[in-house]
C-alpha cells in the first residue's frame, strides 16, 4: 500500500522537476517552480521557515519520505537500481549492512563547516538536489534542446511558429565534467547497492536520518509472524533491515514500503511506533565493506576532476552527444555560415572582470555565493545566455554572468523567480531596473570610432538606464569623433552596451562587477 502511494507520487515529482530543469520557454517554473523550493538544503539556505518546518515535521511523523518522493536524486537512484537485471528479481538482491556512521557524520560535519566557511563549491558538490540539477542541465538538456531544434526545423518548413530554435552550448566544461562524474558515481552506487549514496554520503540524508530515528510512523516487525525468511532484508535498497534481530535502522530507512510488500507473512507494518515496545536501534560498525571504500574513493576523486579543465569555461561548444544532436547542430551551423555576401563575424571573448557579476536580486557577491547550491536552475532558465557556472575554485559551479551572447534584459527576472536557495532573491522589474550590479568601463583602444574611424553609438542607443552619452572626443571639435561617456552612477551593469558593442573579440565597453549591489 505504502509503495503504491509512493511510486506514483515520486514519479510525478521527478518528472515535473526534471521538466523544470529542461524547460527553456519560461513556462515550467510558473507551475512547478515550487518543487525546487521544497528542496531541503535550498530551503535552509533561503531560511524558508515554512518549508523547513514542514519537512522536519514530515520526517518526524512519517520518516524519510522526502528521500523517496521529493528528492529527485533519490528517485533517480531508484530508477537506476530498477534497471539492474536483478532489479525486479523476486528474491531481492540487497542485504543488511551496518550503518557507516563515522563516514556519514564526518561528511555531514565537513559539509556544515563548508557552508559556514563559504566554500560554495564543496557544498554544491555534495548537495543532492543540485547534483541532480547539474546532471539534467548538463547532460540531458542538450538532448532535449536538440529534440526541440529538430521540431523547430520541421515547424519552420511548415511555416509554423510552434517551436523555435535555441542555441546549445556547454556553459562550463568543469561543471559539465563534474555533472558527468556525479552521474557516474551515483549510478554505480545505485546499481550496486541501492541507496548507498543516500546513506553514506548525502548530507541531507544524514540530517533527515537524525530526525527519522524518532519518527512517529515507522516500519516494524511483528515478531510473532516473522519467519526469519530474510525477504525483507533482500528487498531493502537502504540495507537497513536486520531480519535476524528484527531490527530496522530508521536513520537509513527511506520508507519505500518495498519490504512490506515483499513479506509474505504480514510481519512488517508501517504504523505509529508508540505501540511497539522496541525502538529501532542498530549499532554502528567500524568495518567498511568494499562497496563503501569504493564510495569514498570515487567521492574524493570528484574534486580532482573539477580542476581538470578550468580554463574551458565560457567556451562555446556544440554538443555532439548523439547523432540527433549532431545533425541538428550541424544543420544550424552551416545555415549560418553560408550567408553569401555577409561579413564574417568574429565570436566575442569574455573580458577578465576583477569582480564577478552576480544577478540582480543576489544583493551581493557574498550573499550569492553563501546561499547558492550550484543547482544550475537559474543557468538553465536564463533566456539571454548570460548566466553560466563560474570557474574559481571556491565558487566552482556557482553561476556568474557574462555578456558575449546576450545581456541581462530589463523585462526578465526569471533567475530571481526560480532560485530556491535565496541566493537570488525575488525582484521586480522595477527594482531590477534600478539595481546596480556593476558599471560599464570604456576601453578606448578597442572603440571602433577610433580603430575604424566610423561613427557608432550603439552602446548609447541600447542603454536602458540612459547612462551613456556620446560626447566629442576632443571637446572643441564638435564635428569630429564622438565616443561614449559613461555616467557610472546611473549605470546598472546590465551589459546591453557590452553585448551590442561592435568591437571584437573584446568589446570596447564592458561591465565590471560590484561586490555589493545598490539602488541607483
Amino acid at each position: 500500500m505504502l509503495r503504491k502511494i509512493r511510486i506514483p507520487l515520486a514519479a510525478v515529482c521527478f518528472l515535473l522537476i526534471t521538466w523544470l530543469f529542461l524547460d527553456f520557454t519560461g513556462v515550467a517554473h510558473l507551475y512547478v517552480g515550487w518543487l525546487a523550493k521544497l528542496q531541503f538544503l535550498p530551503a535552509i539556505l533561503a531560511l524558508n521557515v515554512v518549508v523547513i518546518v514542514g519537512l522536519v515535521l514530515l520526517t518526524l511523523i512519517f520518516g524519510r519520505i522526502y528521500c523517496s518522493v521529493i528528492c529527485p536524486l533519490g528517485v533517480m537512484q531508484d530508477i537506476i537500481a530498477r534497471l539492474h537485471p536483478k532489479g525486479k528479481n523476486k528474491a531481492g538482491r540487497y542485504s543488511y549492512s551496518p550503518e557507516r556512521r563515522w563516514l556519514r557524520y564526518a561528511v555531514l560535519v565537513l559539509f556544515i563547516i563548508a557552508i559556514i566557511a563559504g566554500i560554495g563549491s564543496f557544498v554544491a558538490l555534495l548537495e543532492p538536489y543540485s547534483s541532480f540539477g547539474r546532471i539534467v542541465s548538463n547532460l540531458l538538456k542538450p538532448l532535449w534542446l536538440s529534440g526541440n531544434n529538430v521540431l523547430a526545423e520541421i515547424a519552420e518548413s511548415h511555416d509554423s511558429y510552434a517551436f523555435y530554435e535555441v542555441p546549445i552550448w556547454i556553459r562550463s566544461m568543469p561543471t559539465f565534467i563534474i555533472a558527468a562524474a556525479t552521474l557516474l558515481v551515483v549510478s554505480v552506487l545505485a546499481w550496486l547497492g541501492g541507496r548507498t549514496y543516500c546513506n553514506t554520503i548525502c548530507p541531507v540524508g544524514s540530517i533527515l536520518g537524525l530526525l527519522s530515528r524518532w519518527s512517529l510512523f515507522r516500519v516494524s516487525f511483528d515478531v510473532e509472524k516473522c519467519r526469519n525468511c530474510s525477504a525483507c532484508s533482500r528487498a531493502c535498497k537502504a540495507s537497513c533491515i536486520d531480519f535476524k534481530n528484527h531490527n530496522v535502522d530508521y536513520s537509513r530507512c527511506v520508507v519505500c514500503g518495498d519490504c512490506i510488500d515483499k513479506c509474505q507473512f504480514g510481519a512488517l507494518k508501517y504504523d505509529i511506533s508508540a505501540i511497539h515496545a522496541k525502538a529501532g536501534h542498530t549499532t554502528a560498525s567500524a568495518t567498511a565493506t568494499s562497496s563503501a571504500e569504493a564510495t569514498i574513493e570515487t567521492a574524493s576523486s570528484q574534486p580532482k576532476a573539477k580542476g581538470l579543465e578550468a580554463g574551458g569555461d565560457s567556451r562555446r561548444a556544440f554538443l555532439i552527444g548523439t547523432a540527433l544532436a549532431a545533425t541538428t547542430a550541424t544543420v544550424a551551423q552551416t545555415k549560418r555560415k553560408v550567408d553569401g555576401g555577409l561579413a564574417e563575424i568574429e565570436d566575442k571573448k569574455a573580458p577578465e572582470r576583477k569582480t564577478k557579476l552576480t544577478p540582480p536580486g543576489s544583493l551581493s557577491a557574498r550573499n550569492f555565493y553563501q546561499h547558492c547550491t550550484g543547482c544550475q536552475l537559474c543557468v538553465t532558465q536564463c533566456p539571454n545566455e548570460v548566466l553560466r557556472p563560474s570557474t574559481g575554485l571556491l565558487t566552482l559551479m556557482q553561476p556568474t554572468m557574462s555578456y558575449e551572447n546576450g545581456f541581462c534584459r530589463p523585462e526578465c527576472t526569471r533567475c530571481s523567480e526560480v532560485c530556491p536557495a535565496g541566493a537570488i532573491r525575488p525582484i521586480t522589474k522595477e527594482e531590477k531596473s534600478s539595481t546596480q550590479i556593476g558599471h560599464a568601463v570604456w576601453i578606448k583602444k578597442n572603440c571602433i570610432v577610433l580603430t575604424d574611424g566610423v561613427s557608432c553609438g550603439n552602446c548609447e542607443r541600447h542603454c536602458p538606464a540612459g547612462a551613456i552619452q556620446m560626447v566629442p572626443l576632443h571637446p572643441e571639435d564638435e564635428l569630429g569623433a564622438y565616443v561614449p561617456a559613461i555616467n557610472e552612477s546611473k549605470c546598472i551593469g546590465c551589459g546591453a552596451c557590452e553585448y551590442h558593442c561592435p568591437a571584437r573579440p573584446f568589446s570596447a565597453i564592458y561591465v565590471e562587477g560590484h561586490e555589493t549591489h545598490k539602488q541607483v
Binding site: T25, Y161, Y164, S455
Partner: protein
C-alpha cells in the same frame, strides 16, 4: 467644400423644415463672426441651426481633476473632484474663448454635471453652451418616465433651465433586455430612444425651448447611425448636430483597427452631405496620438519642431469646415493652455500636411512596408548586418498582419511570437538590426533611397518594445 457653400446647402436644407431658423442662419452667415483672421483669438464656428458661435475647442468634462489626496472639500458634494481647480480651469477656458462644455450624467462617477454646474454658475448663462446627454444605458432607465427624470435631473445638477446641446448618448452601443439577454446596437438604439417615444418628447422639449439643439453621439453599430440619419432624412426628427470620433488615425484606419468601427472619413461625409455640424470626440484617440513611439515623435518634430505632438491631432480634427467643435477632456491646466494655443487661431492642415498625417497614421498602424527590393547593393555590411533579410522579415510581418500597434489587440500574443520567432529564424541574432551601429556606409548604395540605418533602428526599437512585454516568447 468650403464653409460658405456648406452653409448654403445647409440653409437650403433647413429652409424646408424651419424657415425662421434658416433666416437666422442666413443673417449669421453674413453678420456672425467668420473664422478667425490671423489674430490670436480662438477660432469660432457658427452653428447653422441656432447661429451659436461655438469655440473650436470644446471642454470635455469627462476627465475632471481630482484632489491629490482624494479628500472631499467643501462638503462631500463634489466627491473627490477638485472643484477649485475645475473652477480655475473653466475660468481660464472662458477667458480664452472656449464656450462649449460637454458633460453627461454618467461622467466622473456621476458628479461631472454637478461640478460643471457649480463652475459655470459663476458666469453669465449666455456666455457659454452646455452639452449634456441622455445616458440611459441601464435597461431600467429605458422607459420614457425614467429618461425624462434623467433629463430633469441634469437641469437641476447643471443649475439651469435649458440645455444648449442635448445628445442621445452613445447610440450604436449594445445593451441587454429585461431578461438580461444581449441586444445589438440597432435594437438597443430603438428601444432606448425611438420606441419609447423619448425622441418625440425631446423634440417637444426643444420646441418648448428647454433644449436648443438636439443631436446624438455614436459609437459601434453602424446600423444605428444609418437609422438615425434615415429618420432625419425622412423628416421625422431633425438632428442639429452629431458627435463622432474623428482623428487622423481613425480617418481611414478605424475599420482596420477594429472591424466594428467605421472610418471617420465616411462618417464625416455622411454628415457633411446633410449639412449636419459634427462635434468631434477622441481627437487624440484617448491620448494615444499624443503619446506616440519615439520614431513617430521624431518624424512629427522633424516636420515642425515647435509644434507639440498633440497639436497635430487637434489641427487635423479641427480642419474640416463642418466641424462645430472638437472636444478634449482636459484634466490639467497645461493641456487646456496647449489646446487653446493650438486653436487660437486654428492653422488648418494643408493638403500636404494631410498627406503627411495619413503617412503617420499608416506608420502608427504599421502599414508601411519598407520599399526594399533585396537588390543587395547595400551588402555586405561591414558589421555583418543582413539588411535585406531584416527588411524582408519586417515586410512579411506587415503583410501578414503580425505588427500590432497595441498590446491590447486580441491577436497580439500570436503576432508577437510570429514576429520574434520568425526574426530569429530569418536573421541570426548577430546579424539583426540591434547590431547596426549607424555608420551609414549602406545608405549611399540604396537605389530606393531607403534611409537604412534609420529603418533598422526603428525595427530594432520595435523588437525591443516586443521583447520588453514579457520574458516569454
Amino acid at each position: 467644400m468650403d464653409r460658405r457653400s456648406f452653409i448654403k446647402i445647409l440653409g437650403g436644407g433647413i429652409a424646408a423644415t424651419a424657415p425662421a431658423t434658416a433666416l437666422l442662419t442666413a443673417c449669421k452667415q453674413t453678420s456672425g463672426p467668420a473664422e478667425s483672421d490671423g489674430s490670436s483669438s480662438m477660432t469660432m464656428r457658427v452653428n447653422p441651426n441656432t447661429g451659436d458661435t461655438v469655440s473650436l475647442l470644446g471642454y470635455g468634462m469627462m476627465r475632471l481633476p481630482e484632489l491629490p489626496d482624494g479628500e472631499p472639500q467643501g462638503g462631500a458634494e463634489t466627491g473627490p473632484f477638485d472643484q477649485e481647480m475645475i473652477n480655475r480651469q473653466v475660468d481660464y477656458a472662458l477667458a480664452h474663448g472656449v464656450n462649449y462644455f460637454d458633460t453627461a450624467p454618467v461622467y466622473c462617477r456621476g458628479l461631472s454635471e454637478r461640478c460643471t454646474g457649480i463652475a459655470l454658475k459663476r458666469h453669465p448663462r449666455k456666455s457659454y453652451y452646455i452639452a449634456t446627454k441622455l445616458s440611459n444605458f441601464d435597461t431600467a432607465l429605458w422607459s420614457l418616465e425614467e429618461s425624462k427624470n434623467m433629463f430633469e435631473t441634469s437641469l437641476k445638477e447643471l443649475q439651469t433651465d435649458y440645455i444648449d446641446y442635448l445628445l442621445l448618448h452613445s447610440t450604436g452601443g449594445g445593451g441587454r433586455d429585461e431578461q438580461g439577454n444581449p441586444l445589438d446596437g440597432l435594437e438597443t438604439c430603438k428601444r432606448r430612444f425611438i420606441d419609447n417615444g423619448l425622441t418625440d418628447w425631446l423634440t417637444e422639449q426643444k420646441n418648448a425651448g428647454r433644449i436648443r439643439n438636439l443631436g446624438f453621439s455614436w459609437h459601434g453599430d453602424y446600423r444605428a447611425f444609418e437609422l438615425l440619419l434615415q429618420l432625419h432624412d425622412e423628416g421625422r426628427y431633425h438632428w442639429d448636430f452629431v458627435q463622432i470620433e474623428l482623428n487622423y488615425l481613425d480617418w481611414y484606419y478605424a475599420n482596420e483597427i477594429n472591424r466594428s468601427n467605421v472610418d471617420a472619413a465616411l462618417l464625416y461625409a455622411e454628415l457633411e452631405k446633410r449639412g449636419i455640424p459634427a462635434v468631434i470626440m477622441e481627437p487624440l484617440l484617448g491620448g494615444r496620438l499624443a503619446n506616440v513611439t519615439d520614431n513617430i515623435a521624431a518624424e512629427l518634430k522633424a516636420r515642425d519642431p515647435e509644434a507639440t505632438i498633440a497639436s497635430w491631432a487637434f489641427r487635423f480634427a479641427g480642419t474640416p469646415k463642418g466641424v462645430l467643435t472638437v472636444l478634449s477632456g482636459m484634466t490639467y491646466m497645461e493641456h487646456l493652455q496647449e489646446n487653446v494655443a493650438t486653436y487660437s487661431p486654428l492653422k488648418p492642415v494643408s493638403k500636404e500636411e494631410h498627406e503627411f498625417l495619413m503617412h503617420i497614421a499608416e506608420e502608427i498602424f504599421g502599414h508601411q512596408e519598407i520599399p526594399c527590393t533585396a537588390c543587395q547593393y547595400c551588402m555586405p555590411c561591414p558589421y555583418g548586418i543582413n539588411i535585406p533579410a531584416i527588411f524582408a522579415h519586417y515586410n512579411k510581418c506587415i503583410r501578414e498582419g503580425n505588427i500590432k500597434e497595441s498590446n491590447q489587440d486580441p491577436d497580439y500574443r500570436r503576432a508577437r511570437r510570429a514576429f520574434l520567432v520568425g526574426y530569429d529564424r530569418s536573421v541570426p541574432r548577430l546579424r539583426q538590426a540591434s547590431q547596426c551601429i549607424g555608420c551609414g556606409q549602406c545608405t549611399t548604395h540604396c537605389p530606393q533611397q531607403i534611409r537604412i540605418p534609420r529603418e533598422l533602428h526603428k525595427i530594432d526599437a520595435y523588437v525591443e518594445q516586443l521583447k520588453r512585454e514579457s520574458d516569454i516568447i
